[in-house]
Structures are given as C-alpha cells and as structure tokens.
Symmetry: C2
Subunit: 217 residues, 2 copies
C-alpha cells in the first residue's frame, strides 16, 4: 500500500489547516487505496483565531494537538518522519500552512520555513518523491525548494503569484477543478479555496492532485 | 435551492462534531445542489479533549465558535433558526452530538436534550420535514422524539441499541455503506464511524443519507 504523508498545520482555515481541504485529501487517498500518514510539527500555533468573529484570541494551541482533531488521533510529530517512511507528501492549505509551517503570512518573500518541514520537503525532493500542495501551501513549498525554481499554482491571485516568483518559483494560473504539474521537480498543486467557490468545486482539483501524486510514485 | 440545516456540536470527534462526517455532509449537500445552513448552540462544550493523548484538558471552548471552524465562519446560533428557515435538518456524529447537543454521553437513557436542539427537532418533526442523523447522533435524536418511537440505526452496537430502545426508539442494524429510513417519522440514519473502518466507507452512507433526505423534501 502506498503511503502518502499528509502534513497538517492545525485545525481551521484561519490559524491551521483548512479543514475541508484536509478531509478531502484524506478521502481521496483512501479512495485510491493508499494509506494516509498524518503528521504535524509539535509547536505552538502562531496564534488562535475565533472562526466565528475572525478575531485573534488570547489562547495558546499546539499545532500537533489541534491537527490530531482532523487526523482522528492518528498522527505523528513530523520530527519522527523521514522520506524513507513515505512515498509522497501532500500539504493541505489554510492559513496554518503559511503561519505555522512557515512564517510567509507575516514575512512574505523573506519567510523562513519550519526546520522540520524544510528538512522533510528537501529529503522528499532529493529522492524525487512527489509532493503535492493545495491552496496557499505552495508558497511554503516554493520557499522550501527555492533553489530548484519550483513551478506551482495558487490559482490566479496576482499578489501571491508575484511573491512566489520573487521567492524563486514560477507561478502558473490554474482553475479550481484542475492541477498544475511541475514534471522536473515532481510537484503537483491545485488552487482549492484560493478560488473556491464551494466544497464540491475544490473536491475535483484535490482528487486530481491525489490521483496524480499516486500515479507518480 | 433546497436548504439543509447542519447542526454542529464543536470540532473534533471526542468533544465536538466528528470532522470527517461533518465535511462529507457538507460535500454531499453541495454536490446535490442544495445549500447547507450550518448552526450550533452558543454554549460551553462539556469539556475539551486533547485529541493526541485522549485526555481531558483544563481549557474551555464554545460549541458555536469551534463549529465555525468546520463551517468556515458561515454559521448561525441555533436559537435564531426555526423550521421555517430550512427544508431538512442533518446532525453529524462525534461525541459532541451526545455531550453538547444532549448529555446522553453522561446520563445515558436519562439524558436531557439542549432546549434549542429539542425545540428545532420537534418543530421539524411537527412539520414533517426530514431529519438525518449520523453515527451516534441518533441517540440524541431518539431522546428528542421519544414519544414518536423513532426508528434509527447506530450500526450494530448492542449497548447503544438497547439504550435507544429504552428511550422509546426502535433500533435497526445497518451497514456503514447504507442508511435506515423511518418513513413514518421521516428520519434517515447511517452508522458512519460507529462502524468505520475508514473515510471512504463512511462517505458512501453519508452520501446516501443526504440524497435520501433531499429526495424526501
């Protein structure tokens, strides 16, 4: 059974992994008869957002602990995962993918990537194992692989596209029901909620991404 | 566009709504070209469980605020929703459906149902509008409609089935890829993670439940 790493960043679109994108990732992996290996960094979230009001709260939450909600408890600290353990890696979107996995949301093109995330992405790339990134997660992926000029999509958002190019990436416009493939770097990306509009729309691109990733293994 | 109320109970299988079941509910509603109307009670959760360790924490979290993570912020306090506003109601499972929407998890057959949940379920039933319940949520639904002898499934768990019968319900065994329909009371239920084993399995029963509910409108 092919093992697909799913790198989570919390639980909620404003401070963690986007929940719909993460669950649809797990659904597509299971439907493809592959096994999801969920993981997240054991660290405090950048912050906690009340998703009803959109306002920051005083709480502290841990990325691994909150990601465990999406993973139904079956999750591992990313520090214990190497590229030997998985056949591919997928990073769902949500603000956590650029607030916790990297600090792109704060620092923009000057972002740094969490050191365990940076390590695993580069291990995967060095072994030519495929990596998928959904929604805004390609920004963190681009920063992690900037020396390889990764070609990704975040949909059609000009500001994000310009930042990706400034970080050494190449941005391609893509619709929500489709994927962009960087054959040289073995990367697959899809815009998902960067474009929306709804869950049925994003499910099409995410299913294509997972099936493509699995075909590349 | 048909409007399907989705009654959430937090965000996470151990103290809120089961995330996969909730997201698959939203996916099936959108794919059926209906509109999801997410709602939850504005109240403290019974407790907060660390989903990595399974242990209770000292935190306090609000059911409506945490449910907003699954609903991407588009959610209403259940007290502002009446049976006039929706064509059907669906209750995803997870421990929150029996810890927050009722106290069945603590009190068993002597449970009481949150007063707004009790009101809305009975309004829907009085208007013969269909109600769906997933996983363990049929326990709360049975308590709310006990005088009408609701016929539901929670899979094949004997202890839960006996409690449902003791609360005035009738329990039917059902597989994860199927639904049970109570035609008289216009109720539909599916076992989901009461049986599992995986997300692709539960997605089949949940999709059937949503399509059946929409056919009954």
């Amino acid at each position: 059974m092919k093992k697909i790493g799913v790198l989570l960043a919390g639980c909620g679109k404003n401070d963690g992994s986007e929940i719909h994108e993460s669950v649809l990732t797990l659904l597509s992996i299971d439907r493809a008869n592959a096994k999801a290996v969920c993981m997240a960094p054991d660290m405090d979230q950048l912050h906690v957002i009340n998703h009803l009001t959109g306002m920051e709260t005083e709480e502290k939450r841990n990325v691994l602990v909150e990601s465990a909600r999406i993973a139904r408890g079956e999750i591992t600290d990313i520090k214990n995962i190497t590229a030997e353990d998985i056949d591919a890696l997928v990073i769902p979107g949500g603000a956590g993918s650029i607030k916790n996995l990297s600090n792109y949301a704060i620092k923009g093109t000057g972002a740094s990537v969490n050191h365990e995330v940076l390590r695993l992405i580069n291990e995967m790339s060095d072994k030519a194992k495929p990596i998928g990134a959904i929604c805004i997660a390609p920004a963190t992926l681009t920063k992690a692989l900037s020396s390889k000029n990764p070609e990704v999509t975040v949909g059609n958002d000009i500001s994000s596209a310009e930042k990706i190019e400034a970080m050494g990436g190449r941005h391609k416009i893509c619709t929500v029901d489709n994927i962009h493939i960087d054959k040289n770097n073995r990367l697959v990306s899809t815009p998902a909620y960067m474009l929306g509009p709804g869950i049925k729309d994003i499910s099409i691109g995410i299913e294509k991404l997972i099936n493509q990733i699995i075909d590349m293994i």
